[in-house]
Symmetry: C2
Subunit: 406 residues, 2 copies
Amino acid sequence: MKIAVLGGDGFVGWPTSLHLSARGHEIHILDNLSRRWIDTELGVQSLTPMDSIQERTRIWHQGTGRRIHFHLIDLARDYEILKRWLSEHRPDAVIHFAEQRAAPYSMKSDRHKNYTVNNNVNATHNLLNALVEIELDAHLVHLGTMGVYGYSNVGAAIPEGYLPVGVETLAGETVSQEILYPANPGSIYHMTKCLDQLLFQFYAKNDGLRITDLHQGIVWGTHTPETKLHPQLVNRFDYDGDYGTVLNRFLIQAAIGYPLTVHGTGGQTRAFIHIQDSVRCIELALKSAPKRGERVKIFNQMTETHRVRDLAELVARMTGAKVAYLPNPRKEAPENELVVRNEQFLQLGLNPTTLEEGLLAEVVDVAKKFAYRVDRSRIPSVSAWTKDIAPTIERDPEGKRLKSVG
Amino acid sequence: MKIAVLGGDGFVGWPTSLHLSARGHEIHILDNLSRRWIDTELGVQSLTPMDSIQERTRIWHQGTGRRIHFHLIDLARDYEILKRWLSEHRPDAVIHFAEQRAAPYSMKSDRHKNYTVNNNVNATHNLLNALVEIELDAHLVHLGTMGVYGYSNVGAAIPEGYLPVGVETLAGETVSQEILYPANPGSIYHMTKCLDQLLFQFYAKNDGLRITDLHQGIVWGTHTPETKLHPQLVNRFDYDGDYGTVLNRFLIQAAIGYPLTVHGTGGQTRAFIHIQDSVRCIELALKSAPKRGERVKIFNQMTETHRVRDLAELVARMTGAKVAYLPNPRKEAPENELVVRNEQFLQLGLNPTTLEEGLLAEVVDVAKKFAYRVDRSRIPSVSAWTKDIAPTIERDPEGKRLKSVG
């Protein structure tokens, strides 16, 4: 297949591109490299030393003989360029990772809120609009988030996108219907993924686009078999307060002797998936496209659920690290249950990578290897969800005053 | 009250501004005048000769002694200017009409789809973002649409925004919940109003903004008591295939001896409201603001429902006009039932203006008076919902070939 990977320079985009290239697909990365620019803006960098995309693809070709093509395109801003590219290359599938993906970054200031809404909505809508305009029947696979469901305590299992409900008719009977799960986003970032969902529903209904939306849990780990082939193919590893995901942050914190930062009680239950499985799920989704005219296919892309404090205690036991309970910069339920259905990927053959201590230790080893590159001042989460919350998160776990934001 | 009317130069915005000014409120219109630019783009104009906003407000002041202030601001593009304006003026309420509001225009071409999404989402989000940023606790009243509900035949009454459903829990019990009515938009325009809804839900939950969302039916009529005070205060009257609303289009068609254009079977049932009631509803909503921390208050702003072909036949009987059944440029159910709840406005004292022949005749008189200004070639709807539909709507009811679009 000829596959366009939008956002193929990112944390999930890059290993996905390698994985699919290794399996013989013709891969074209379209990326505006905004994630690298945001590193520059925030003064942070990947823990792992990350080469340019041009250099990475050169190394991949040198080692495997396979080419990954790179095209510098800003999907959100350059509709006409995107349309022309799609029209000329006519890929069989488009994988869409090209969105600002950090909740704390999206809540940093009014400028960051606007950027996230503008960038994510326009990137997704430009893509849908162009597919219709050039009459390209490519399968669109989008990376969404479990966060569209919200984390309230409804006491029901989270279905894969569609919820069966009973509705009372005019005649007083209750009829059963399946509806798109009611969105309950917890941040501006999560909200943009809810907006995406509505865009997908409309374009599938009105124009018959074939769309798969992956509601992904929190990714942990860093290596896949392909990124391990050469030091310069290494994946990015974010540990900062904006882009670092919770488990990876605990692992780097443990590696450098920094307290594991738990926000609130740590009673938040979240869904998780290892980066290897994330990449495999995308391959499975590609093979299982909806037919033209079918509704949007939604998968829950996660393999297990954990409470945040349980993860902290697991890493603490394993490494001897201390746990620091800090005020929560987010506005969210302090404790929640979470039961998630994920039968679709299991039925397609996903064999989950579980949260074993061996694999956790591997990540700690990566962290230790590059510990000299860590900037401790970038570890705390400084983005507050509201103006009321901001003054409550003034100090980091080492007692230093945090820089104000915005 | 000091009230900012965003989009106060438009079809509902202008009579609302006059109505509220007449009742002693301090009115500030913020508008980028895009609707006038779109007239220029399409080569159409209001049937009624419409003066500049500066001239209109001058006439209003001359006749009543009241000032309506006008500020040329583009909400979607000029976030910083909007924020500064709100911060300096700190209005008690903000009424938000400032969105591209025609479904056919939104479906005209890929450029129009992008414009509508970009303009509407950014206008709404910029406003919400600014209110939070400057910590302004103004009541936000937004003009939405009945179209967010969609027009499928569920056999249930459309509630005012929130739908009670039964959901099965993990324990196998069915619990009752109220959810935001599942969105089912029929065009890009309607979809943007669904996106707005999610933005409102988030900002009400996260930041405690006080928001009222009015799901309005199709507006008909043109005069309100205030617009009748002086010829230069007249409201706009759109009759073209993009911006003209169905009943007003029938009335102008009848006035000039053009066939009444029914698309498809005319079995589409829609909700209607007279412009006078629309304006009164907005005043009632202003007086009934939600409290800080309450969920978004949603009203159905409509007074009656009718099938499109019944309206055509009513106007035909009244005026002797012919009815022309044309292929439908829209992708929608050919026939639907529609039962809508609107108790909230009735309880607040709304006394509906019904679809009486007298009032219809008044509109026909307006149409006849300005019939010399009608451009017959602008009457047909030329925007097709999909590329498959486009070739099926090639000719107008007089047999002329339609210009291709896009």
